[in-house]
Amino acid sequence: MNEKEQSLQQLRDIKMMMERSSRFISLSGLSGVFAGIFALIGAAVFYMYLNTQMASGYLSIAESLPAEVSIDYLTFGILDAAVILLLSIGFGIYFTTRKAKRDGLTIWDRNVGHLLIHLSIPLIAGGLFCLILLSYGLFGLVAPCTLLFYGLALLNASKYTLDEIKWLGISEIVLGLVGCIYIGYGMTFWCIGFGVLHIVYGAFMYFRYEHKQH
């Protein structure tokens, strides 16, 4: 190894140590892909549920939901979303743990704490805000607002994990804002944001960082 290669190697070591010590870098791209798939399945289940309700004359027009939408419909939606969330988190933890083990890193270091705190503050605020919207009967705004706050949360957390996450965050914010304009297409925007974007981003990250190494 000549001096130049030695110096380059040292710089690579420095960069790696700085990243390892200040960011959570074990996040697996596959968790994104699976979260996206679950989101699409969840949306499909919800859509089918709406259709069966409509067929039985229970809901008049799905596009312009009446203010007196039944509690059943709301409960089903919230349950559906909760199942998607739990499955996504579960698989996310699984793939991330697997990746950390392969890279020989510890998973639950203090960077995870930073990441989770910065992720959860905008998310909890957004979740409460969406519940408030629901209580006012502003159903059309709920889907784009979940995208908007999720994007803000990702952007906020990107300082503590892989930098590319901020682009996913910005995409979700833009999508959420556009979704607020085109009310009535909430489901479509939600599927693009939580489904398609997650899959695209996750696959990109997987092939960029993980596929080659293993």
């Binding site: 001096e3 110096s7 040292q10 710089l11 420095i14 140590m17 700085m18 010590s21 203090r110």
Partner: protein, 99 residues
């Protein structure tokens, strides 16, 4: 050529010392255990490198009691950060000069 190599700080020649200083550049302070897992070295190895860096005045050691156990953490000094930056510059120069 000679003066370029002179600027490469001997204190950063070891991978462990380089790792300790790199981590301290981007974190306010780090405790012993975190550094140990981060760098994947033995207690004795890490301790000797840390005391060498402390002797140079590159970092300061803080000891505090957490319950009955002592928790030792480290912070880079201004001098240490400057030395590290100079080391980076020297590496950069060395790479540029050999293009």
């Amino acid at each position: 050529m000679k003066h370029l190599i002179d600027n490469i700080n001997k204190s950063f020649e070891s991978r462990v010392r380089l790792g300790v200083m790199s981590s301290l550049m981007v974190n306010e302070s780090i405790d012993f255990l975190t550094l140990k897992t981060l760098l994947d070295v033995t207690d004795g190895n890490l301790a000797s490198h840390i005391s060498a860096l402390e002797a140079e005045g590159f970092l300061i050691v803080k000891k505090e009691f957490v319950g009955k156990k002592t928790k030792t953490s480290y912070t880079a000094t201004k001098f240490g950060k400057q030395a590290f930056m100079n080391h980076l510059k020297a590496l950069e120069q060395l790479i540029k000069s050999q293009k």
